[in-house]
Symmetry: C2
Subunit: 313 residues, 2 copies
């Protein structure tokens, strides 16, 4: 099975975390070095990594900071400092769920490295399982519309379909303003040999009305107890369109967080500069402001099927 | 009453047509010279002018070509040649309606210049009337979402509202890939002193769900007999969202064409390069294709109110 570099974009080796710089794609496949938790938080804030990359980076950051501590010392103050910096990095992904898990292990004096590595191994296997499960929902010649980027899961789903003699093709929304759809999803799908067509975010209804799309598959950054999800801005309107055009809408979910409904999920508002500038060049008129909510909430009722990531903690 | 340069972006003076180059906005307010019908068709194809600018350019092109003909000669062959070039320039706007009107005048030996100038004068007055009528539908503190650019009508509607002591503010979708929303609408609204906020096309549902939008107003490039419209790609999905969120959806229409329903309107497919490149720089991965339908059809049933442009021919 071939994996996209986006499937596992972080690795920890000899005291250094290597982070796939997703802002440099598709021009360059390059890894940046992260040497402490402050750099890790900066990489998260600047969206050098996102989605599952953030989860991996959090866990590797703990591995990194733990490796610096004298094994006989009290690790808790350091872990708490790291945790609170991570929790404050971006609001929508439930970082606290991860950091609380690690703090919990520490408080129970469980072997931290082994638990973290075990968690990462389980996460990898469960993600592969998730892609396999999604593939079972699809048919030969299905044309999938996807939005943003689901960290290597879309090409993996396509690979599993191939094993079952089903060939998929893809439409990808470019996903403004960060262009995760064209820069990341189209790139990884093309590299895995799939037919992929980019559309801008405002063309979704048109391609659906032309009957070009059989299924919609998106990811999620946050799953509430009732099945509501937070995902990249634009997901909710795709779900509304999917309902109108009667197209199945599948979500590859992260583990459930502790919040009950989507209303409790905080939506990150990012600097409008990221919307109004492109490659350092201003594309909007001077003096005009922008509004950039980075996520939206899709109520559970719009989701044809949740494909869960069943992580035991 | 102050007018946006986009309200009347074409003028004909001493044998030359001056075309506001909308591709240079908002960086530069500059007019390009057009000296024959071939240059006029090129300007239309390259979207140097669009929407009502195309109508004005067609009529001015006839004035230009007529001015070159010996008045005693037979004008019809020239007019027919010009007409067929214009009709082939872009498919979605009903150019034939305009060129047939001029050919009709010629066949009836009516004074062409006077008829064309009369038509343009009527068009200008009717457009002002249309803005006035739209303003009556709005309330003080209404927040309007608009898409693409309606050639100077949005700031004019805002000005009429001000006369009625109603202050509007605006959200504008950036309108990928050509960015008419941020480059043109946000620019002209800001210049007229209105508060305007840019969002990307995938944020529409989110700003609606936050209760930020009271009314949606868009234009149309083509109005079918049954009230279906063709407008800039993205309009249809805004209409679907407006219905879901119960937000009134108003359309500033052009005159009705001869087609019965939206199904008969041909949607222009533009080169995917315009979607995959930005300022000459490729933003999509190599080898990946795009799909760029430039318009979509919004069925009449989604439109809360058509604001007609009542032109006698």
């Amino acid at each position: 099975m071939k994996f996209s570099p986006l499937f596992w974009p972080i690795r920890f080796e000899k005291g250094v975390i290597y982070v796939l710089d997703e802002t440099a794609l598709p021009d360059k496949l390059t890894y940046m070095k992260v040497k402490d938790y402050k750099q890790a938080c900066k990489a998260i804030k600047e969206m050098k990594t996102r989605a599952v990359g953030q989860v991996l980076l959090v866990m590797c950051t703990f591995l990194l900071e733990i490796s610096k501590i004298n094994k006989t010392g009290n690790m808790l103050p350091v872990l708490e400092k790291v945790s609170s910096a991570i929790n404050a990095a971006r609001p929508t992904l439930p970082f606290k769920m991860l950091t609380d898990m690690v703090l919990g292990w520490a408080k129970q004096s469980l072997p931290l490295e082994r638990n973290i590595l075990g968690f990462l191994e389980m996460l990898k296997n469960k993600r592969i399982q998730q892609a396999k499960e999604a593939a079972l929902l699809l048919k030969d010649k299905d044309v999938i519309l996807t939005h943003c980027n689901i960290s290597g899961l879309m090409p993996l789903i396509g690979e599993f379909c191939r094993k079952q003699s089903k060939e998929l093709s893809f439409f990808v929304t470019e996903t403004r303003p960060y262009l995760q759809g064209s820069r990341l999803s189209a790139w990884e799908l093309k590299h895995s040999g799939f037919e992929v067509t980019i559309i801008s975010d405002n063309m979704a209804a048109q391609v659906m009305s032309e009957g070009r799309i059989n299924k919609i598959i998106v990811g999620a950054d946050h799953l509430a107890g009732n099945g509501d999800i937070a995902n990249k801005i634009g997901t909710f309107q795709l779900a509304i369109l999917a309902r109108y055009f009667k197209i199945p809408f599948f979500v590859l979910c992260p583990p459930k967080s502790s919040v009950k409904t989507g209303k409790e999920i905080k939506i990150e508002i990012r600097p409008d500069k990221e919307l109004l500038e492109f490659c350092g060049r201003r594309i909007a008129p001077k003096g005009v402001k922008g509004y950039y909510p980075a996520f939206d909430i899709t109520p559970a009722g719009f989701i044809t099927k949740h494909i869960y990531l069943d992580i035991k903690r």
